[in-house]
């Protein structure tokens, strides 16, 4: 890391064919699918901050797992799911409470730091948990991601309309008999899963740009929920794959380029939208 020249790497094509790169591309596909679909609902439910907080609630789980010698994803997933179920049980309104969410977020991050300091191996992993390490994703993890994606799509296919109805029109949905409490818990639980599989790519700190930002960009470009999910998934995928390719060419961390691309797409979408409505 002592060489800081920002030089183009002519061997980038052969870098891309390395096994860890194949894994990273596959992981990107799995993450983009999950994030694209759930990003839409997160925005529709005004729960983006709560989703962001879930990643941070997962942080002490992740560092705690390292401390106990367990897989990072397991600790992350358990804590995020626990947090999601608590927030979900409190109702949709709770996910819109910014101060409570922010306070829990800060406390969880602090707790994550505390656990990390308790062992040197957790300390070493702290950076990759916070900022992601998509190049170190293992084949086992990818199998886990793929299983999650299949489950996600199966569950969503069944609850799609009631979830959408309760997301955009909770009071009417409730009056019409949609179990809004169950929908909220289901949403938060699925969100915990999406966070858990997306954190290895960009880390807990940058996850907003991967899960929410592409969906926000897609929302300004297309109107139908289904189209928005597809466009969000594509933007997310291009961000991740583009990040991988560019980071093979230039010495920059993939997380940085992924987040930069995602942000640029969003800014471009907003720009196009404001020109259209001028």
């Amino acid at each position: 890391m002592n060489d800081v020249t920002f030089s183009f790497d002519p061997d980038w094509l052969s870098t891309l064919t390395l096994p860890f790169m194949t894994n990273a591309f596959l992981a990107g596909l799995c993450i983009a699918l999950a994030a694209g679909v759930m990003g839409y609902f997160t925005i529709a439910r005004h729960s983006t901050f709560a989703a962001h907080a879930l990643a941070h609630i997962g942080l002490p789980g992740a560092t705690g797992a390292v401390l106990l010698g367990l897989p990072v994803s397991l600790g992350m997933g358990v804590f995020a799911l626990g947090g999601a179920l608590v927030i979900g049980a409190l109702g949709k309104r709770a996910t819109q409470r910014e101060i409570a969410t922010g306070t829990v977020l800060a406390f969880a991050t602090g707790l994550g730091l505390f656990f990390a300091r308790l062992s040197s191996s957790a300390s070493q992993q702290m950076q990759s948990i916070l900022f992601g390490s998509i190049l170190t994703i293992t084949t086992d993890q990818i199998i886990g991601f793929a299983i999650f994606d299949v489950l996600l799509l199966a569950v969503l296919a069944v609850i799609y309309r009631p979830l959408l109805f309760s997301s955009v029109d909770e009071q009417v949905a409730q009056a019409k008999g949609v179990p809004i409490g169950m929908m909220n818990v289901a949403f938060m639980a699925i969100m915990a899963g999406v966070i858990t599989i997306a954190v290895p790519a960009v880390g807990t700190l940058l996850i907003f740009a991967l899960v929410i930002t592409p969906a926000a960009a897609a929302n300004t470009l297309v109107t139908s929920p289904l189209k928005a999910m597809i466009v969000a998934g594509i933007l997310c995928l291009v961000s991740i794959w583009g990040g991988l390719v560019l980071s093979a060419m230039f010495p920059a961390p993939p997380s940085f380029i992924i987040v930069t691309l995602s942000t640029l797409f969003w800014a471009a979408a907003k720009g196009v939208d404001s020109l259209k409505h001028r």
Partner: protein, 295 residues
């Protein structure tokens, strides 16, 4: 909520029988015994905090009763909600949704269904019919966030009526709308009532716009809901009591009646209002089946 013991005739859409609602220990209202017929247009009126929205939520079975029974469309409240169209109050102010008007209305038809059901041609046709009825057919492709408050209110009404409800409930449908939009919404309600025979209930704090179409009103006064047909409720001393400020009833040459608050309150007028619990102590009604709500 409790069993349906009394026999109700075919023309009774909503039946309150000694109904009471509490929030915590506080009685919102009690001794509610009245019936609202099918085909009526009823306003729920009263000052802020008297439980107008709570009454609508009770009729939807979302607010449990502390006492008594409440029958809607012949069944205990909450069981016939599929035949009720509901437009909540926050609808126009709250929404910054990216959904289009058409998608929003469509949810009124498909939003409760679990499982994979592609939208059918019949459902689309129904959606367009509902939008055409409220006069927003040309706005189908607009996002809700691009529509004015009045148009969004009409989208909400279309969403409520797309499933062919027998009863339509609207919570403050005219709040925050300009005069033209208020007229448009009232006109839609009038047509729903006259052409489709829909029973309509509206929570309102300002009766003026609604007067031409109302057949009766539930007024929340002194912690009791009362129901009266329109000629009975428009008694200026009653309305003055109801709103705690001087209200006049004016009959214009066209026969329309308007409720006008006096331009300015005289200094020596003491508003004659009480909170429900206060009044409950000195104001008790006799009922044939006298069950005392433990208050």
């Amino acid at each position: 909520m409790g069993g349906d013991t009394t026999t109700h005739s075919e023309h009774e859409c909503i039946v309150f029988d000694n109904a009471a609602v509490k929030r915590g220990d506080r009685i919102i209202w009690h001794h509610g015994s009245f019936t609202i017929p099918y085909g009526s247009v009823t306003a729920i009126v009263g000052t802020n905090g008297t439980g107008k929205t709570t009454m609508m939520r009770a009729e939807l079975g979302l607010q449990p009763l502390a006492d008594g029974t409440l029958t809607v469309l012949g069944k205990p409240a909450g069981t016939m909600n599929r035949q009720i169209g509901y437009v909540p109050q926050s609808y126009t102010s709250d929404i910054d949704s990216n959904l289009t008007a058409e998608q929003s209305v469509l949810l009124g038809l498909t939003g409760t269904r679990f499982g994979i059901h592609p939208v059918t041609k019949a459902q689309r046709a129904k959606t367009h019919e509902a939008m055409a009825f409220v006069g927003i057919a040309d706005k189908a492709e607009y996002r809700l966030s691009q529509l004015s408050g009045g148009l969004r209110q009409r989208v909400a009404i279309a969403q409520a009526l797309v499933a062919d409800p027998k009863l339509l409930m609207l919570d403050e449908p005219l709040a925050n709308l300009d005069l033209a939009s208020q007229r448009a919404v009232v006109h839609v309600l009038a047509r729903l009532n006259k052409e489709l025979g829909m029973t309509i209930q509206v929570v309102a704090h300002d009766l003026n716009m609604l007067l031409p179409i109302l057949t009766g009103a539930v007024y929340l006064l002194d912690g009791h809901p009362h129901y009266a047909a329109m000629n009975d409720v428009l008694d200026s001393s009653l309305l003055t009591h109801l709103y705690g400020t001087k209200v006049q009833v004016v009959t214009t040459p066209q026969g329309d009646m308007f409720v006008t608050p006096t331009p300015d309150e005289a200094d020596d007028v003491i508003p004659d209002t009480h909170d429900p619990r206060e009044v409950a102590r000195f104001h008790r009604h006799e009922y044939h089946h006298d069950t005392n709500p433990g208050a």
